[in-house]
Amino acid sequence: MPEIQNFTMNFGPQHPAAHGVLRLVLEMDGEIITKVDAHIGLLHRATEKLAESKPFNQSIGYMDRLDYVSVMCNEHAYVMAIEKLLGVNPPIRAQYIRVLYDELTRITNHLLWLGAHGLDIGAMTVFLYCFREREDIMDMYEAVSGARMHSTYYRPGGVYRDLPAQMPQYQKSRFRSKADLKRLNQARQGSLLDFIEDFTKRFPACIDEYETLLTDNRIWKQRTVGIGVVSPERALQLGFSGPMLRGSGIEWDLRKKQPYAVYDRMDFDIPVGINGDCYDRYLVRIEEMRQSNKIIRQCVDWLRANPGPVWLEDHKVTPPHRTQMKNDMESLIHHFKYMTEGYCVPAGEVYAAIEHPKGEFGIYMISDGANKPFRVKIRAAGFAHLSSLDEMVRGHMLADLVAIIGTQDIVFGEVDR
């Protein structure tokens, strides 16, 4: 009788379904996974260490590069931690703009997740559909910050600038027909807010399209129903947050329970799953997009009616306006000190957490009174979720591993930091 041994298999780090650079060492019993050892850190850039050697504001750009598909939310937690230590509150309009962009970010994140998750388990079309809408949100990012992805738009004390009065339009090009150009620019005739409002009107029908492709799709359900089931008790033990926790049936959302910015003025619901499997988490995220759309509508209405400052006038924390700077000696000094040395933050420690599209994203910041943070710890949701991979995958087939990595919504920028 020959001895039967388990098979050890390597997965990644360069694998399209590994969502970046995840290396897994799998122990297989036939096609059943008995153990997973995840090797992470291949994208480790020591963001926390780098932040210790720079003035506070210079690390905002690093936050963009953590979870690089939900950029503005990362910035939000970071600037919120600084603001809490400084004891300042940004103007109300800035807070509305932050909520607006947080929710747009949530939609981009979920669109990328849905597209990639679909692609992983064999639904090609969804990917193309999702990226169509994602492009519009990228344009909204670009209109407001000048960058499609790494926007560095939120600053301690507000946001970098007010929403533009004119939405940028596509230019004539020999690769684009006149009819195409007209169609693309149709919604871009007015301001950025007009464009966003138009998007919120179009978007629910787009979600219906994704749902037509997936929700009742027999293959999709076969690949996700009953896969990666996590009970609510285990979800708490494993440090789950966000859609992963809600998918297991726990009604918990920081936007509702510990509201920050102006979420306490928003009307929205928290979707909750029942079975805690991949399919429920899919439904939760789909519904979250609908709720985000609802919040964006409320922000647009408020922002239209209430013009005002978007940055604090405290020039120790925010730079003075350019025209002021060129006419006023004190403003020039403020500008120089702000841009070179930065500002000193009073000694103390604070934990600022937000409801990131992936879960709870927290910044624990210790300041010793200097112009640089003494220690910044980034609590990324993906890190806690990925640590449960072993438990979620055991006993499943190899192909289900891919579905479970997909459902965790892993992005290595934030896992490895």
Binding site: G41, P55, P346, N371
Partner: protein, 233 residues
């Protein structure tokens, strides 16, 4: 299911004080957050009580964070009593090291009670070289990777951890990169050696430099010792 206690953080602080007395020492924190310091020997019993007992119910451990307090409150530039000569341009890299390094490393736990909607922060100082604390992996399973991370980056040992391996750094990495005395540019770099026909490690060729010196200025707008965490130990 017991009903959630709708208590303020101050009331919760009162409950904690009457339950744990001197074992949990309240430390000041920013933004009215609850922060406590716990002795290394009490850590596990207090964590278990905080998780299980009715008024606390901290079911979730959101984060475990290592901290190296070496050089806390040290400024690279003198900003007061200036000066006949002006400020120097360069920064002296040789930070003075304290003779006594106990109280250098700490581990900070962020707890969350979903039931009562409360947060709490625990800080425990590690025993001296090698820095060591008890693992809380069996109390909150989410501590597993977070403790591995603190072990990897700070060299803090967690007694009772089931699988204490490096997690974020490279295979075969030497040292603990997030310690304050570890240079940001690292100690070694890799390159392909055409003679040996393989990738080799060599001492790093980057000269570390400081672009913006670290300064501590007193700002009259913030009341002295606003939340008093200066002077941590």
């Amino acid at each position: 299911m017991s009903k959630p206690l709708n208590v303020t953080t101050d009331q919760l602080a009162g409950i904690i004080k009457s339950r744990f007395g001197g074992h949990l020492k309240r430390v000041p924190s920013g933004a009215g957050q609850l922060a406590y310091e716990v002795g290394a020997s009490d850590l596990r019993s207090i964590c278990a009580a905080l998780r299980d007992e009715g008024p606390f119910r901290f079911e979730q451990l959101m984060d475990v964070c290592g901290v190296d307090y070496l050089g806390y409150g040290a400024s690279e530039w003198r900003t007061r009593g200036a000066t006949d000569t002006g400020f120097s341009r360069g920064v002296n890299r040789q930070a003075p090291r304290p003779a006594d390094e106990s109280g250098r490393f700490a581990v900070v736990y962020q707890l969350l009670s979903i039931h009562h909607n409360q947060r709490l922060r625990l800080r425990v100082f590690c025993s001296a070289e090698p820095p060591m604390v008890d693992s809380v992996t069996d109390i909150w399973n989410s501590a597993n990777w977070f403790e591995r991370e603190a072990f990897d980056l700070f060299g803090i040992l967690f007694k009772g951890h089931p699988d204490l391996r490096r997690i974020l750094t490279d295979y075969g990495f030497m040292g603990n990169p997030f310690r304050k005395d570890f240079p940001t540019s690292g100690n070694v770099e890799v390159r392909y050696d055409p003679d040996k026909k393989r990738v080799i490690y060599q001492p790093v060729s980057i000269v570390p430099r400081v672009l913006v010196p670290r300064v501590i200025r007193e700002d009259p707008r913030y009341p002295e010792d606003q939340d008093g965490t200066s002077g941590h130990a």
